[in-house]
Subunit: 249 residues, 2 copies
């Protein structure tokens, strides 16, 4: 369930660029994108060397909206997700590093997560800064890139740099960005909507009521869809899943 | 950082099908895909109505590997991620429901997360089963689809059905699948690699040592990349990020 419709969408007034490269870990990219999309007016766009489909390290294929030439020079948020060997290749790629230097200079907030932080570092953007990264590489790599490693899930070093630790911390990075743009109360709503750091029971969470109200129309539509789906079920059909073992051809 | 290379890849021997549809929440799809890709021999493939790019509810664009006709009839894992209005549309789509019925009947494990569980339910696959879903819809919708709602992040109902709660629970669903195929010790490694439910400090976690060993070659490559990147930095260049405010054109 998405937060893109948590408020009526205002005109696009903010831009986020998310870097994709061969071998990027898709869940890291889309974790940040999920929360960015919940910031009113924010348009998160994937950018890559070319507009050809980019294959992530797990076979995910994503289509970029911009290439390095067409991506806006100024953006509100720049995001560099991590990966494995493809990320090491990105650290050595002059086009990637040049792109990050040019957009990094003008971006409102520069962010990286997991090994993506190393690509920011290779571009020289972390010199003299405090940063985190995946625990497997953080302490060995960040000092080589002029940065001070910090063992934390999220490190906010001044107003323009946020780094996150490995993989699942992409969700935390996304939430930190929501907090920056929209404040704590709004971020708490998205946190509950994403069921991040929360039990499925919203309990006394004050954000729950607002969300229930916001999603009431969608809930009604889903109820109607459920009722009409049920009406089409063949009454006599054996439910496949009741079989203890799969039927294999 | 990805788990696809946590072991030398054996020949593809297992198939996972992840359903994409217009309006699907990309992070949910790729959270499960991330962990599936860490199961040796498992090939997670995106399947959709056609091979055209599918646009998620937040503007993510993914390319399917199979359409409803070409997707294998038998798979080891079937995954239905959630979304917003697009998911309600999927609940009413006879082609989607027919696809889920045909693959669900033969799948080793049928899984759904967030509102994707409702699509499984609309297909009739949850009749008489215990399931969870996003807290906003779970209690109202699941009984209408013949299922008993359970307030939990993950519900494993027998050997062939796993459901997960909202959005970020896609990571937990992925991990539950790893545990099913590979056992607890292996799952603990992927959990630490993904920094899921863990501090960035692996501390005394016995999986940390194995991971350090496994990733030593990648670490060396990254160190070399960092050193050569640093050598190209212009010594006199002002580091853009040191500026407290972005330079706007």
């Amino acid at each position: 369930m998405a937060d893109g419709f948590i408020t009526a969408a205002p005109a696009a007034t903010r831009t986020a660029l998310l870097l994709a490269y061969p071998g990027v870990t898709a869940v890291e990219l889309f974790a940040v994108q999920y929360f960015l999309a919940g910031i009113p007016g924010m348009v998160p766009s994937v950018v890559a060397r070319s507009l050809e489909p980019v294959t992530g390290d797990l076979g995910a294929v994503v289509l970029p909206a911009f290439n390095f030439a067409t991506a806006p020079l100024a953006c509100d948020v720049l995001v560099v997700p991590g990966g494995g060997p493809g990320t090491v290749a990105a650290m050595k790629d002059p086009d990637v590093l040049g792109f990050l230097r040019s957009r990094g200079a003008q971006a409102g907030i520069v962010t990286g997560l997991c090994t993506g932080v190393l690509v920011l570092g290779a571009a020289g953007l972390l010199r003299g800064r405090r940063a985190t990264s995946h625990w497997l590489v953080r302490d060995a790599l960040l000092p080589r890139l002029g940065a001070t490693p910090v063992a934390a899930r999220i490190v906010e070093d001044g107003p323009r740099l946020i780094t996150a630790s490995g993989v699942s911390a992409g969700l935390d990075l996304g939430l930190a960005l929501v907090r920056r743009f929209m404040g704590d109360a709004y971020a708490a709503k998205l946190e509950l909507l994403a069921e991040l750091h929360s039990a499925p029971e919203p309990g006394e969470n004050p954000a729950a009521g607002t969300l229930r109200e916001m999603f009431a129309p969608l809930l009604s539509q889903a109820e109607a869809a459920a009722d009409s789906a049920r009406a089409t079920w063949p009454l006599s059909e054996t439910v496949a899943l009741v079989q203890p073992e799969p039927i294999r051809g």
